[in-house]
């Protein structure tokens, strides 16, 4: 007669189902994060290698001068909203971080084709970037709770960045190449940091040791 126990049982069952369903995307996202992090780490290593190869091919004097000049400029990928310190990064929501990552990776897809390298890594960079972009997109969709809030990030004037980098790679001057390689390396590290922090943040473990 008393529907109480039945209701209780039903709610319990429902919550269990909910939990299982809800936890599903978490584990999925963890797996996706792991994949994305490993990919971006690899890209970062590639960028480092490219840069060091290029630097070793330069003369010492040129090297010094170029480093001075380069650091006076800045990579145009410094988006205003991207956190620039740990505090800011840790306080940013995951979706924001993912969006920034997505933008960054996308902005480098085209210019990466003009990246020069002694071996043939340049041919691998562009497709790897495309894959990474897809992975990040999946992650965004997996964490789609508050995606609508950060749509403005995706609407950034990407065209500017693309043009900028295109301009960089247009002429084959050493300076341009140097800047391109240095900026690429930095951006890859940025994406790696963001993804790593986001992954740790979403991981159920408190002890997020990578």
């Amino acid at each position: 007669m008393d529907p109480g126990p039945a209701v209780k049982r039903a709610t319990l069952l429902l919550s269990a189902v909910c939990l299982s369903v809800c936890s599903q995307p978490i584990t999925d996202s963890q797996r996706l994060f792991s994949i994305a992090v490993s990919r971006v780490q690899h890209l970062h290593l590639l960028a480092q290698r490219l840069f060091s190869d290029f630097e070793s091919s330069l003369q010492t004097e040129e090297q010094r001068q170029l480093s001075k000049i380069f650091l006076q400029d800045h990579c145009n990928s410094d988006i205003n909203i991207s956190p620039l310190d740990k505090h800011g990064t840790q306080n940013s929501p995951v979706q924001k971080l993912l969006s920034i990552c997505y933008v960054l990776v996308e902005s480098w897809e085209l210019p990466s084709r003009s990246l020069s390298g002694s071996s043939a890594p340049r041919n691998q960079i562009s497709p790897k970037l495309a894959e990474l972009k897809t992975g990040i997109l999946l992650l965004i969709r997996a964490n789609q709770n508050v995606a609508e809030i950060y749509e403005d990030t995706l609407s950034l004037p990407l065209g500017e960045y693309i043009d900028y980098y295109h301009g960089l790679g247009a002429d084959g001057s050493l300076r341009r190449t140097y800047e391109l390689l240095a900026c690429f390396k930095k951006d890859m590290h940025k994406v790696e940091t963001y993804l790593t922090v986001a992954k740790c943040r979403l991981s159920p473990e408190t002890n997020c040791i990578l």
């Binding site: 480092q48 650091l71 310190d85 990064t89 840790q90 790696e192 790593t196 992954k199 740790c200 040791i209």
Partner: protein, 633 residues
């Protein structure tokens, strides 16, 4: 003039003053130089500079920096945390992935000097502190210990939130060595080291690096002493030596055992030419005759024959059909069984050329041919003898083993009773020469001398010396009849010495006097298809004599019925026999070997006339007993 002197003095004083002051001049400070900047955890960073000359005046240094994207100039707030001539940027002032333009300004009373600007990005200058809390423990792995090193990341580096990712590197060496052994660890914080020296002291260090930065400094040494797990090096050596010594001993012993084989394998002996029977020594000594003597084949008969006629026929086989044998076997009479030869055991090739014809009956005297039917084997006895007109002889070259119990099928030697016996005054000794089936049976090298006797005169010269020998062989095992043991004796070789007894002379030679056996050999086959025999030389008498006593049974006598009475083996000596078979005189001769006399006309001695056996040894032959017919008296 006085004024001029004063002016000069002032002038000189001023000059001195100026000179003095010039040696210690104050100047604008020298240009400082920014040496390095470093961030330990990607959150703060510190920059150091090298001051130039200070110009003799107290100089202050200030650091100004600008961030990319803005022209605002900031000044360093913390000059003390990093030590002298340093500037520490705290978390609030630090931005990653941002270019900093840093300048140091040295200021003194006279002026200031600016250093060259330094552009840095914190992301490039990360160099963490060394890992902390390096702990090395000894783990015992079933007696073989190993080291386990564990550590913590530097305290400031925030690896937990993933802000910075560190990878580690460990190095180890023995205390007394110089070279380090470096192990790349990766991101983990535990590492195992194997392959340690027993009782050695190890020194371990560790360092770390972010994936984009610089290596940290090596941590402090940690020393660890590995216990002595290898009991004693010396004892190990002793054990090894003992073991190898044992192995060496065993190998040498094996080698010694097989030295001959090895010699044969490695250095095989060179075969020299050898002629069988050829004695080199004798040859060398000059006695060529003796040397070649051994080449003689003892049983090579040709040179002994006075006549060079060869034997055209070695033997002729007589075949007895199977039924007769069965019939004979099935008869159940005791006495029959006694004398029954082991015809059953004879093999199918009834006596073709084998030794089983026990006796060769030969006519010793030339014209006294004994017609005897000897069957090559027991199966042939009756039938073959009846029909045969030929005497068969067999040169027994081969001796199948008599002792095996097989009935050796000798080709029987038939020598029909000579027709001319009748002409002889009925003394015809039936000479049976047996070719003893020995392993070394030899061709009779002698012919019966009576052969040469003129026909018609069968004189027995070597009468008594011829014996019939019945070789019963060892039929015992094949005897189907239930016979007593003693009965088998009968089937031993019988030595029959028969003489007709008609003559005195033969009577003298009557058995049971044992005489040396004489064997007959085939001399030739005459024109009438009869075999001419002659006795063998007495060389072999002695040889056969030995076997006489055991193998042959004596003929007791010939009764009126022309029945040959045989004694058992023991009876030969004592003429007593327990076996009922021995009742020779009693029975009607059922167990006798019966010999029928051939009523035919005696012809030449060399004509063996086959005599039909009236009574076949129905009840057993003297197995493979030679059936012979008595010569007509």
């Amino acid at each position: 003039m006085m004024k001029n002197d004063g002016g000069v003095r002032v002038f000189w004083l001023l000059l001195l003053f100026l000179l003095y002051t010039r040696g210690k001049s104050f100047s604008v400070p020298g240009k400082p130089t920014l040496t390095r900047c470093r961030s330990p955890e990607k959150e703060t960073f510190t920059c150091w500079w090298e001051p130039g000359s200070d110009g003799g005046l107290p100089t202050t240094y200030k650091l100004y920096y600008r961030k990319e994207g803005s022209e605002k100039e900031y000044q360093c707030t913390d000059y003390h945390t990093g030590g002298k001539n340093s500037c520490f940027f705290n978390k609030n002032d630090t931005s990653i992935w941002v270019n900093y333009n840093i300048t140091v300004v040295a200021t003194n009373a006279l002026g200031q000097a600016l250093s060259d600007p330094l552009n840095i990005d914190v992301y490039f200058i990360v160099e963490p502190n060394p890992p902390e809390n390096l702990n090395v423990t000894i783990q015992n792995d079933k007696g073989w210990p190993f080291l386990r090193a564990s550590w913590d990341p530097p305290t400031k580096a925030d690896t937990r939130s993933g802000w910075i990712t560190l990878i580690y590197e460990l190095r180890i060496k023995l205390e007394e060595e110089d070279e380090w052994e470096i192990h790349h660890v990766g991101q983990q914080k535990v590492f195992n080291i194997f392959g340690l020296q027993s009782g050695g002291t190890y020194v371990i260090q560790i360092r770390c690096k972010p994936d984009h930065g610089f290596w940290s400094e090596w941590s402090d040494d940690v020393q660890v002493v590995v216990p002595n797990y290898f009991p004693n090096k010396r004892s190990a050596w002793v054990l090894l030596m003992v073991f190898s010594g044992m192995v060496f001993l065993i190998l040498s012993w094996l080698l010694h055992l097989n030295s001959r084989n090895l010699k044969h394998c490695i250095l095989p002996p060179v075969p020299g030419p050898k002629i069988k029977g050829f004695d080199q020594k004798l040859h060398k000594s000059g006695k060529s005759v003796d040397a070649f003597k051994s080449l003689e084949v003892p049983d090579f008969p040709h040179h002994t024959f006075s006549k060079s006629e060869d034997f055209l026929v070695e033997y002729i086989e007589v075949y007895v059909p199977e039924e007769q044998e069965l019939m004979l076997e099935k008869s159940n009479n005791l006495h029959n069984g006694c004398l029954k030869s082991e015809s059953s055991v004879s093999d199918c090739d009834s006596g073709r050329g084998s030794c089983d014809s026990h006796t060769l009956l030969l006519d010793k005297s030339g014209h006294q041919t004994n017609t005897q039917d000897s069957q090559t084997d027991e199966q042939k006895h009756g039938e073959a003898l009846q029909g045969e007109n030929l005497a068969y002889t067999h040169q027994d070259m081969v001796s199948p083993d008599m002792s095996a119990g097989r009935v050796k099928t000798w080709p029987s030697v038939f020598s029909p009773l000579p027709q001319n016996r009748s002409t002889v005054d009925q003394t015809s000794s039936i000479e049976i020469a047996k070719q003893h089936c020995l392993s070394d049976s030899l061709l009779p090298s002698d012919f019966l001398t009576p052969y040469h006797s003129p026909p018609g005169h069968c004189t027995r010269e070597h009468l008594g010396s011829n014996y019939w020998e019945f070789d019963f062989g060892n039929k015992q095992p094949h005897l189907t009849q239930p016979q007593t043991e003693a009965c088998h004796q009968i089937q031993a070789h019988s030595e029959i010495n028969i003489n007709t007894g008609v003559k005195a002379e033969p009577a003298a030679h009557k058995f049971p006097t044992p005489r040396s056996n004489e064997y007959v050999e085939v001399q030739r086959i005459n024109e009438e298809d009869s075999v001419v025999l002659r006795p063998v030389a007495s060389n072999y008498d002695k040889l056969f004599e030995m076997q006489q006593g055991e193998d042959y049974s004596r003929v007791k006598g010939v009764d009126s019925d022309n029945v040959l009475l045989l004694l058992q083996k023991e009876a030969m000596e004592e003429e007593m026999n327990m076996c009922p078979c021995e009742q020779l005189t009693d029975t009607t001769g059922a167990h006798y070997t019966r010999f029928a006399r051939s009523p035919e006309k005696p012809t030449a001695c060399t004509h063996p006339t086959p005599q039909p056996l009236e009574e076949r040894v129905v009840n057993g032959y003297v197995d493979t007993a030679t059936m012979f017919t008595m010569p007509p008296y």
